[in-house]
Amino acid sequence: MAVQCAEPEKSVIQITTFSQQPIWDAGWRSDAVRKASGSGFVIRGKRIMTNAHVVSWARQILVRRYQDPRPYAARVRFIAHDCDLALLEVESDSFFNGLEPLDVGELPKVRSTVITYGYPAGGEQISYTRGVVSRIELQSYTHIGNRGYLAAQTDAAINPGNSGGPVIQEDKVVGVAFQGIPGLENTGFFIPPPLIQHFFKDIEDGTYDGFPQAGLRIVALQNPAYRLRLKLPDNDLGVRVDYIYPGVPKTKELMQEDDVLLQVGPYAVGSDGTILYQGNRVFVGAAFSEAQNGGLVPVRLWRQGQQMDVSLPVYVYREDRAEGNQYDVLPRYYVYGGLVFTPLNRDYLRTLGQNWFDAAGPELIYELFYRRQEAPQTARPEPIVLASVLSHAVNANLAVQGRTLVDKINGVRIEKLEDVIRAFESSPPQNQDVIEFLPDHTLECLDRAAVKQANAEILKTYGIPKDRRL
């Protein structure tokens, strides 16, 4: 069936995904298969653009063309979890016959009208919603959970199923619909062209790296006394570097706390930490986000009363990946004597329920989200939790039952999951395995000989194919 696509809707694709997510506190298991639908659109090169969250953890992806009942199998070619974008390939080339690719346009103006195309829940047919671009600023990207980038807000309804659909203005794509705010009607967000173009540029070498970060905490510099102390003119320019995050050695080398950013790239930096970005005042982070991984960002700064220029190399920041939602990599775990050890990360905490921040307890929250910044000398690269205890006679007397941080095993400080295995498997000869937990230094021991005998039986009883995934 040949389809002539003169209108944008003909290039809008309905995507059905059958996905299966791992269970992060029992890493050898997966959730039930879930069916969800989203939207996408055809771009040049016989590819479909959509949101990363539409196709994450997909077991099968089916795509349908406008008013064409036939499903086609598709696969992910590139996926960018940080900016929630993905490119799909369709197994059958014939899918693209007669489909006109949509081009990506410029950042739309605030107050201009856009139309969102997609297949939202509640029907099978394509849906169009017209709206106005309300504002453009940095927003938290919920798919990754711990990143914020430029996003455009519109009053056009963006509902489940709209995700990945194009936002069109004058026949050009000016955004990819991606998220709303629960409980807030008529507020939707779309990923604007600068991010889409950054993604395209990033994958030119065949790999997606992600958005780099400068690793700076930036604070407004509006107090006259602080400006005077830094010998800075009392005007509206310049924002202060308050803190440099651990894990950005180049930034540490080239920049200092109390440096003042005067200009980043082509953008003058206001004293409130914003730049004028295509007519919108947005946080200066957007300027650093324009660079590719490993790229150099020209920075004009003020240090100790003098202006200087620095070319700051910026890299994708991976130190905090455990704080965000993770994809594509199955959970790491190790089971020993029925004790399930797994890294502490946001995905694990989310197994504690919708109210996971409260359910986790302050110790786990502090360990994951605060310690690295506040006490880097005591932080562990990969804090490990005892996620659960699979009941068996060998562990029946343990009082600790899970959700607990592991401090030491057989005297070995546990910095990552491999340490757990090493501590159990390579410890000096002794009759008991000794586990110490945080924060109270609770002590639990296992009879080593009994555990070694029981391990295989426990794995069999609980249907665990392997005792570890590293």
């Binding site: 107090n223 502090y366 000794v434 021991c445």
Partner: protein, 500 residues
């Protein structure tokens, strides 16, 4: 017929009224239970310069000549106490004679001799039953309310005003409005006093605990309650006991941490097994067999006929052998925590500097976020509650609010930041700030905050700060730029006495 009915009605009414009157006059408790009305200052820790007045009515029980026992709850910062007997009529001026917040006990009195006429002291029961029926007594709407209730259990747990764990009674009670020192009696004796109300019951301070505190009150100087500053875990895992080389049957509990102040000597070490305290064997769940009450948590041995400073023999197992140690009970103090649990009889401390409001980080401050403050208060502040004090960090000062002024332009949204230094000088108390203000650096006040996820530094023009402070005081209607307890609050917040 009409006349007969009316007469019959009058007779019936007369009989009933007579019965009720007789019942009331027959109750000896109306001569021993009184009502207290406490007027007290109540503070808003989010605006520490503001005060309002609160009134509480509670129960008191006459326990001796000119002595009325009540709980310490809501007696702090009191400005007036009034007493009423008989459930109605005249209010008599009262005065606080003694108070121990950790024990949650207070004794009040009245100066006027006429008040004491017809009042009779009640003896405190020497022992407390662990089950059975008791009566709850209070004055309510002018009538003496005597309600039957059942004892659920004896339990060792923390009190309403203190982390200190000691013996309590739990009673089954759906009676509304309790929790305010209602008398719990059995026969002619007082067996306890209600300290708090839970969903389906009440917690009661038992007479045995009350007696020991009242006895201690007679000695000078008054020694408050002591506690065990070690943290222990159950020893129900035989493999753990084997690792600790315990010989014989599983028993005792394992020491895993300490709540002691950094300055306190450590008699017990991590991974000691506590086998016996004060002659009582400790089982693997941390219980001992109390001669009067059966199995109770070992914490009770710190208050069972013991006071702070007393030495207790503890038998431990260490490094594969048993040995005895002499453990001195440290005094229970609110300052044992980095974030003090309570502050009594002291208006909130604060310091205003150029519109920046600094306050000590205390639990009453965190409670400004409501009963659910552990969840609702800023996470980083509430997390300090779990941290221990250290010599370089005995307490914390927080920048809690910025009252906007030209002087602090750019900082208006900053709050909940814990101060590390001012002008290069370490800050752990407001007094440190007050001193550091005198030493600006090259004409600036340089504030440094503890590492966290918020701003780390602020700079103010030192030459303008004083004028800005005056301006802020005037604009926001604040009387004083600082209230700082002297001596430091943390030392004062323990056992307080008032005109004994």
């Amino acid at each position: 017929m009409k006349t007969f009915c009316a007469l019959l009605g009058a007779l019936v009414f007369g009989f009933l009224a007579g019965e009720a009157g007789a019942a009331q006059s027959r109750s000896p408790w109306e001569h021993s239970v009184v009502t207290l009305e406490v007027t007290r200052k109540q503070y808003d820790y989010l605006q520490p310069w503001t005060k309002r007045v609160a009134h509480v009515q509670k129960t008191g029980t006459v326990i001796g000549p000119r002595e009325i026992l009540t709980t310490a709850d809501s007696m702090a910062d009191q400005t007036m106490i009034r007493l009423q007997k008989g459930g109605r009529g005249k209010w008599w001026p009262g005065e606080l004679r003694w108070i121990d917040y950790h024990a949650n006990l207070a004794v009040v009195s009245a100066a006027e001799a006429a008040f004491w006429k017809d009042l009779r002291p009640v003896p405190l029961a020497a022992s407390v039953p662990g089950k059975g029926s008791v009566q709850l007594i209070r004055w309510r709407n002018g009538n003496l309310e005597i309600r039957k209730t059942e004892i659920n259990r004896l339990i060792v747990k923390g009190g309403k005003l203190s982390f200190l764990e000691h013996l309590h009674l739990e009673i089954d009670s759906e009676i509304n409005g309790t929790g305010w020192a209602e008398a719990i009696v059995s026969g002619s004796k007082l067996i306890g006093m209600v300290s708090s109300k839970e969903e389906h019951g009440c917690t009661v301070l038992p007479s045995s605990f009350i007696r020991s505190c009242l006895e201690a009150r007679k000695t000078e100087p008054y020694r408050g309650l002591g506690y065990f500053d070690f943290v222990w875990q159950r020893a129900e895992n035989p493999a753990t006991l084997k690792h600790l080389k315990l010989v014989g049957e599983p028993r005792g509990v394992i020491v895993i941490d300490s709540r002691a102040k950094p300055s306190q000597a450590q008699v017990l070490k991590r991974h000691d097994i506590i086998l016996q305290i004060d002659g009582f064997d400790i089982d693997t769940q941390g219980d001992y067999k109390d001669p009067a009450h059966g199995n109770l948590l070992l914490e009770n041995l710190a208050t069972r006929n013991k006071r702070a400073g007393d030495k207790i023999h503890i038998k431990i197992w260490r490094d594969g052998a048993g040995q005895g140690v002499l453990y001195e009970l440290p005094p229970v103090e609110y300052s044992v925590d980095l974030v003090p649990e309570a502050v009594f009889d002291q208006e909130p401390e604060y310091l205003l500097m150029g519109g920046l409001l600094f306050q000590p980080l205390t639990e009453p401050y965190l409670q400004s976020w409501g009963n659910d403050w552990r969840r609702k208060a800023p996470f980083r502040l509430s997390y300090y509650k779990l941290e221990k004090p250290a010599p370089e960090k005995p307490s914390l000062v927080v920048l809690s609010l910025v009252l906007p002024d030209a002087h602090n332009l750019g900082y208006q949204d900053s709050r909940y930041l814990v101060v590390n230094k001012l002008n290069g000088r370490r800050v752990t108390r407001l007094a440190d700030l007050l001193e550091a203000i005198k030493h600006p650096v090259e004409g600036f006040h340089i504030l440094e905050f503890r590492d966290g996820d918020s701003m780390q530094r602020m700079v103010l023009d030192a030459g303008e700060t004083e004028a800005a402070t005056r301006r802020v005081l005037q604009r926001y209607g604040i009387e004083k730029d600082h209230v700082i307890a002297s001596p430091p609050l943390v030392l004062k917040a323990g056992v307080a006495s008032n005109g004994k």
